[in-house]
Amino acid sequence: MTAPKSMTIAKAINESLRTSLETDPKVLVMGEDVGKLGGVFRITDGLQKDFGEDRVIDTPLAESGIIGTAIGLALRGYRPVAEIQFDGFVFPAYDQIVTQLAKMHARALGKVKLPVVIRIPYGGGIGAVEHHSESPEALFAHVAGLKVVSPATPSDAYWMMRQAIECDDPVIFFEPKRRYWDKGEVDTSAVPAPLHRARVVREGTDLTLAAYGPMVKTCLEAASAAEEEGRSLEVVDLRSMSPIDFDTLQASVEKTRRLVVVHEAPVFLGTGAEIAARITERCFFHLEAPVLRVGGFHAPYPPARLEEDYLPNLDRVLDSVDRALAF
């Protein structure tokens, strides 16, 4: 038993990778600049020094190559954890992910397993140039054969990474980059919740806010602000976008009778659209208002000086809360 420690999300992922490298000799960390530099966000800091260049691998600058070879390594019995440096740079690997990684288990009649984790720092809010702030999770959740998750807290970052690495299916692990430096308690001897289980992170009675990754914090802030106006909002951290834990969400919505889904990604054909459809099917007679969505526009991610206008924030969330409550 070790006492819980306070650490950032960045450090929690680093610790999680470290523990996984220690406990399973088949675990590999690979990607651009993950070795000596420790990654551009320092998530893999110190790992190459301690585990060597054979296990913490600086790859050539080629994302299709990174994921394609990760597939080969997995076929050979390894458990690669591949880093894509930024969200916008996953697309050279999209072919390998969609046509190969996602489908190989099925094509081999279940005889081969593809325990590949693809780490992707995602989302905006860091004032970056283009391709460094996107939220492409729906493009992966849409593909059968992939699991897609995103932690919102250091504890989840630690445990969900451990679980993703232990999972025998490919997991796309979206890391909320603008929250990397947020701190929280991590208990490395706790019994973690299942990887794909949603969690009620704040209880309330008037409306449910559902979010994941970077937007969980925004929703918690919105719930606090709403409380001052006498409104009781429940916040559900979905944690997993594929599969989605609709049971937990349904229970919440049957209680609050209203749902607003929040994500940074564009709302058009996004995760929120799927949630709205399913929850409407499941809870039609409980709902007092249509399920509303707060998210990005059908527009390219804007230049940094407009991102505060583009990204869902407390005001945007509360605006939708008002609209849902007004029905």
Partner: protein, 382 residues
């Protein structure tokens, strides 16, 4: 995976390339680091004193506004800057080799090439300040937008060149990319297409020895210029810190393309003197000795020595260039500070050429949402 092969990376600073098998690749050089003019059997150049002074002026200006951009980033006026420090000769030499009707496809570091194409430095800074995602009309100077996704533009350049050839024009195209980019599938595919269609494109690789923290041997077992051989077109390595050699070699490569002989690869052997970008800390992965070694091969210093020693420029000229570059830096500084934040409604501009109903709907919704704040304190703060 072979354990040995990933572990075999030797330390930097005089490291031998494993695949290089002893033979040192030939480097085209016309001006030594000491500022001495030398001849080369295949590539020669004959420039007027005025042209030589022009190259010097270009390089000094480029370095000056690049340095100013680094400062502006430190002051919070820019979000990021990718400095070209050390690569001035590679960029000015190659850029000055192009004709106005040629077309240039840059990465995100080609500030010197942009200068030679007549793109105002202020236009380059918009995207680094975060007020736009591009910032200029590519067709105005035949200088395409900066491309951040590594390697993509090599294919665009090839396609553009295929089009130029179909049109029967004798314009050539030049695609810039880095040593790291040479690993990308898109670059390999560009080589294939260019070779198969004999496209009039020059692939100009600035091997600045680093792709963020990864040294070139992480990308290739052979010198990069040798890559083209397998695709069936010539490659040459030039001293990227020698503006005369770069100009001569790039001119020849563009001529090769123009005259219907197809693509050519130029590897400009140079060095990234600064960090990868202002977000990077190069001390984490490379040695000061290496940087010092390359500082002795500075592209500007060697041309200055040559100009002075040959009596091609006097003190008054150097002082004048200095003063002009200060004025340029001042204009850049003031221009950046005055750059307004875009109107939030610009989020919805130019997404489609022919319009889109969803964009119209979301634009209207967002305008209505914004209007709620008008007059309020939040509105005023926006």
């Amino acid at each position: 995976m072979s354990v040995k092969s990933t572990a075999a990376r030797s330390s930097r600073g005089g490291a031998k390339r494993r695949g290089g098998a002893g033979r040192k690749p030939e480097l085209v050089q016309l001006l030594t680091p000491e500022g001495e003019r030398v001849e080369h059997s295949e590539y020669s150049i004959d420039l007027t004193p005025e042209e030589l002074r022009g190259l010097y002026r270009d390089m000094v200006f480029t370095r000056r506004f690049d340095g100013e951009a680094v400062t502006l980033q430190r002051q919070g006026e820019l979000g990021l800057w990718a400095s070209l420090l050390g690569q001035e000769a590679a960029q000015i030499g190659s850029g000055r080799a192009t004709r106005p009707d040629d077309y240039v496809f840059p990465t995100y570091r080609e500030h010197g090439v942009a200068w030679t194409r007549g793109v105002d430095p202020l236009n380059l800074l918009g995207m680094f300040r975060g007020v736009n995602n591009g910032g200029w009309d590519p067709n105005q100077n035949n200088f395409h937008l900066y491309t951040i996704v590594i390697g993509s533009q090599a294919l665009h350049a090839t396609g553009y060149a295929m089009g130029a050839a179909k049109d029967g024009s004798d314009s050539a195209v030049i695609a810039y990319f880095g040593d790291g980019a040479s690993s990308q599938g898109d670059v390999a595919e560009a080589f294939t297409f260019a070779a198969v269609y004999n496209a009039p494109v020059v692939f100009f690789c600035q091997n600045n020895q680093w792709a963020i923290s990864e040294p070139t041997e992480r990308q290739s077992r052979v010198p990069i210029y040798q890559r083209s051989a397998g695709f069936g077109f010539p490659g040459v390595r030039v001293d990227g810190n020698d503006v005369l050699a770069v100009l001569a070699v790039t001119r020849a490569a563009l001529e090769h393309a123009r005259s219907g002989e197809g693509p050519m690869l130029v590897e400009a052997f140079t060095y990234r003197m600064g960090a990868h970008t202002t977000s990077d800390d190069a001390t984490r992965y490379r040695l000061d000795e290496e940087t010092a070694e390359w500082a002795a091969k500075d592209p500007i210093a060697r041309l200055k020595t040559y100009l002075a020693n040959e009596g091609l420029a006097d003190e008054a000229f150097f002082a004048e260039v200095e003063a002009e570059s200060d004025a340029l830096a001042k204009r850049v500084r003031e221009g950046v500070r005055a750059m307004p934040n875009p109107d939030p409604m610009a989020i919805f501009d130019n997404i489609y050429a022919d319009g889109h109903a969803l964009v119209d709907e979301e634009r209207a919704q967002f305008a209505a949402y914004q209007a709620q704040f008008e007059g309020s304190e939040e509105g005023a703060a926006r």
